[in-house]
Subunit: 126 residues, 2 copies
């Protein structure tokens, strides 16, 4: 299990995060990650409408901006949102963006208490 190179929490730049999230494809990837918790690149990039190399480029952009964490297990690479790091550095930012991105997913059910903003991280998944 290898961890790919990522910026340290304190090195995450606001403008880079905003730029990373200003692309619809990347925003969609992030939205999926927020729901699924952790996904392989193949799953995250499924039906995105772009070539796999393009998707790979977006994974890299997200990783280098400090938005996602990527770890390699075997020949698979798992991506997950760096929720805690982002929230520590820019409190409330990711939540507000996710809320604006996934209105249907959240505002539907969910007790939505202040302690559980946005889809709770569902760590383990299928």
């Amino acid at each position: 299990m290898r961890l790919l190179p990522h910026p340290a929490t304190e090195d995450i730049e606001l403008t880079e995060v905003l730029r990373a999230l200003s692309d619809p494809v990347r925003l969609e990837i992030v939205a999926r990650l927020s729901v699924a918790g952790e996904m392989t690149c193949t799953v995250a990039g499924d039906d995105l409408g772009v070539h796999k190399s393009t998707a790979s480029h977006h994974y890299r952009t997200l990783r280098e901006a400090g938005v996602v964490l990527t770890k390699q297990v075997g020949r698979l690479k798992y991506m997950s949102l760096r929720r805690d790091d982002l929230d520590a550095r820019f409190p409330g930012l990711l939540d507000s963006i996710l809320r604006a991105t996934l209105p249907a997913v959240l505002t539907s059910a969910e007790g939505t208490d202040a302690a559980a903003p946005v889809p709770a991280r569902s760590g383990a998944d299928a």
Copy 2:
């Protein structure tokens, strides 16, 4: 008093707002506006380190993204943040960005207490 063309509140796109705010110069302009409430372009662009035509381009970008509202009074153009519109469309987004931005911007004066929700809007707007 003339109002320049702006996108309607419901037409403000998240990705465009994020993109608009992903530029350091524009982010600085927005930070200044959040403190001053309303400024002329000259004041907002003072000491930004870019040519005035470049600043003008940024004003336009911010306006077209729906981030700022511009009204012309005489030969002056006053810009102000579209706080209410942005907050209605993307709750909490602008605040989280300003909170992450301001400490670095107004390192002087201002209590910058963590409890205060970003500088209060000092503009004459609603």
